[in-house]
């Protein structure tokens, strides 16, 4: 079959699934799926860039997504002047000193003679640096966290337009990726996997514990939104009139309007990124990436800078994940570090890329939508299936109760089975690489 027709058919099918959700469940949930599907598609694009283009095995997606979420807080929340006065300079100075001591250590490393002197010197530099850092940093943090801890207790953000946080999220993730890439990219693929897995956990640990930065597990709620509030719309007579003329009650209409607004913005971002990724794929750069992926030694022999290119694509892919993370936090309207789980934010994205077709941008986008749709819909479907299975059992049977109660857990099982089936019978995914 002509691939163009096949791909269009697959995307049409995906659109049908979402439309069907709208007709059978509610338009609200259809738009919810669409919005998170768009975000997931962006994440999948990022992972596809790393894995599909360059064969880099990054299982730290969650960390980059969370950094994007942090960017949303740092950009859009209003600053807390009292906290800045209490400890702002102290925290900045502390961080600067910490960075400086690491810098000194890096500078000194090649200059010290090998052997015991070097080990001793490095230890002394790092230990003294750590002590100074804690001396300056700790009191400042304490002062900040004491400022009105129930409502703020953190430095706040810059109070800028929230959409600005999307590119900033990308930059933040790119910065983290640069540090990780510099230290871990030379490693073998499964070492890189473990390294990225660890980094992601550390990012989440920082978000959970550094209350001065992100309020930790107290969460930041009420982030500014790029679209109007539902309540404002409902109080706007012009909007209510328009809604009633379309035969909708103002409540539903306002919620749909807001979600459509998000969908529109996310679609624009996805299309831009998709266009860029397609351009990259079909450029000499993309061909070089794939050449490196398929045979590193040969590419190196042709004079390609394998390590440099790997670093480049690792940063780019991570930045896209950061953008998606900022978009997601904007959509949620809150940053809740406790909800970041690797199964949902790292491995699910991997399922999207593999199922969609690694190495193909359209495949990754399709996978993002499809897997997100399944992730949401498996729950009601399995609950329904369990109802049918247990229909013959006694009303009060404990087995029946357990099965009905645990139906929600079938989500992970289904994702695993989907991934294994695709890997086995269609290892190149739904839309394979050309």
């Amino acid at each position: 079959m002509n691939p163009v027709i096949k791909n269009s058919a697959l995307f049409a099918l995906m659109a049908m699934l979402i439309l069907l959700t709208g007709i059978m469940q509610s338009w609200n949930s259809a738009l919810l799926i669409l919005n998170m599907g768009l975000v997931s598609a962006v994440m999948a694009l990022g992972v596809n860039l790393q894995w599909g283009f360059a064969g880099l095995f990054n299982v730290g997606v969650m960390g980059f997504v969370a950094l994007g979420g942090l960017a949303t807080v740092l950009i859009s929340m209003p600053p807390v002047p009292a906290a800045w006065a209490a400890g702002g300079p102290g925290v900045l100075l502390g961080l600067l000193l910490g960075a400086a001591s690491i810098g000194v250590a890096i500078w000194a490393y090649p200059r010290l003679p090998r052997g015991r002197v070097r080990v001793l010197g490095m230890t002394v530099i790092l230990v003294i640096g750590f002590i100074i850092f804690r001396r300056v940093f700790d009191p400042a943090v304490e002062a900040i966290e004491a400022v009105d801890p129930a409502t703020s207790g953190y430095l706040g953000g810059l109070g800028l337009w929230v959409v600005l946080s999307w590119p900033v999220g990308g930059v933040l993730a790119a910065g983290a990726a640069w540090i990780i890439g510099k230290s871990a990219l030379g490693l073998r693929s499964d070492y890189l996997a473990i390294a990225t897995l660890g980094i992601a956990e550390i990012v989440i640990a920082v978000l959970k514990n550094e209350d001065w930065l992100s309020r930790g597990v107290k969460n930041v709620i009420g982030l500014p939104r790029p679209v109007p509030n539902e309540v404002d719309l409902q109080n706007d007579p012009a909007f209510v009139e328009q809604a009633t003329s379309l035969g909708l009650d103002p409540m539903t209409a306002s919620s749909l309007y807001v979600k459509l607004g998000y969908a529109l913005m996310f679609t624009v971002v996805l299309l831009i990124l998709l266009w860029l990724a397609q351009k990259a794929l079909h450029s000499p750069w993309g061909r070089m990436m794939r050449a490196i992926r398929d045979n590193e030694t040969a590419a190196e022999a042709m004079g390609k800078d394998v390590k440099g290119r790997h670093l480049q694509v690792f940063i780019l892919g991570s930045a896209i994940c950061g953008i998606a993370g900022a978009m997601m936090t904007t959509l949620d309207g809150q940053l809740t570090p406790g909800t970041y789980q690797p199964l949902r934010f790292t491995f699910l994205i991997w399922v999207m890329v593999i199922v969609g077709g690694s190495g193909n941008n359209l495949g990754a986008v399709l996978g993002g939508f499809l897997i997100w749709f399944l992730w949401v819909q498996v729950e009601p479907i399995s609950a329904l299936a369990m109802e049918v299975i247990t229909a013959g059992m006694a009303e009060d049977s404990p087995v029946r109760g357990h099965l009905l109660e645990s139906a929600a857990q079938l989500r992970l099982l289904t994702m695993g089975v989907v991934l294994l089936l695709v890997l086995r019978f269609s290892p190149r995914g739904l839309i394979p690489e050309k």
Partner: protein
Amino acid sequence: MEFLNAIVALSNYVLVPALAYGSQLALGALGVTLIYGILRFSNFAHGDTMAFGTMITILMTWWMQSVGIGLGPLPTALLALPFGIAGCAAMVLLTDRVVYRFYRAQKVKPVILVIVSMGVMFVMNGLVRFVIGPGDQRFADGERFIITALDFRMMTGLKEGLAIKTTQGITLVTAVIVVGVLFWFLTHTRTGKSMRAYSDNEDLALLSGINPERVVLVTWLIVAALATVAGTLYGLDKSFKPFTYFQLLLPIFASAIVGGLGSPLGAIAGGFVIAFSEVTITYAWKKVLVYLMPESLEPSGLVQLMSTDYKFAVSFVILLIVLLFRPTGLFRGKAV
């Protein structure tokens, strides 16, 4: 006296917990390292394999408790352990038959196998959550302490107490027995030797008539046993929660890599290195230092280098240091 008190406090809060935790990590890392050595991929499903074996053990423990079978002062779970191992072995053999064998026959790249193991991870994680639920489960029974802090203080007359939990004692004893049996098996039996030969040089091993499928089968059986034992000991010592077991993946892999992937001895060493660094760096040293330092120098803060939530960071940093300066690990594992 002051010095003795310091030592007791140190043992109570650092040495004993780290020894127990290190043994659990070592057992987990042994499983990872064996799969790496024989099947040649990093098994991301290992944490969930541990959870699966532990789940069967817990279910059997509950059943035994309900019909009144027990071990007196020892936890009933020890009696249920063989059933857990059997269940876990059945599960991993099934996954090998249904999933991994296909790819082994195709001789795919290791990274594909890693992705496949991601799928297995999802399935096992889902299964465990489906059967036993995502919440915390406690299944330890019997005597809680070998020696309580109060008894210790009465016995010795020291100010500090040393409490040793039964589970910590059992962990250490079991780990020693299991590791002893494993090393005896690997060095003294024909099957064990063939496993080592297969791990060292696959082609030569095949040439000398070693049956690869048999080696793989035995490996999975050993891995199932190791994973179940490690998981059950961890669950007894702390508590059982599917998500925690998934998260153990990081320290376990760190242990295996720090020791040198593919080297059983390295896995054990790595487990203790990771456990001791995690505990010492996240421990508040004030109590120990108060005994050791003259009064004028006593610390005012807790002297905790990092908050306990950063324990992942510790295993990770050690992992990174080892990878940068000695990529094959402490014990020269294989770097394929």
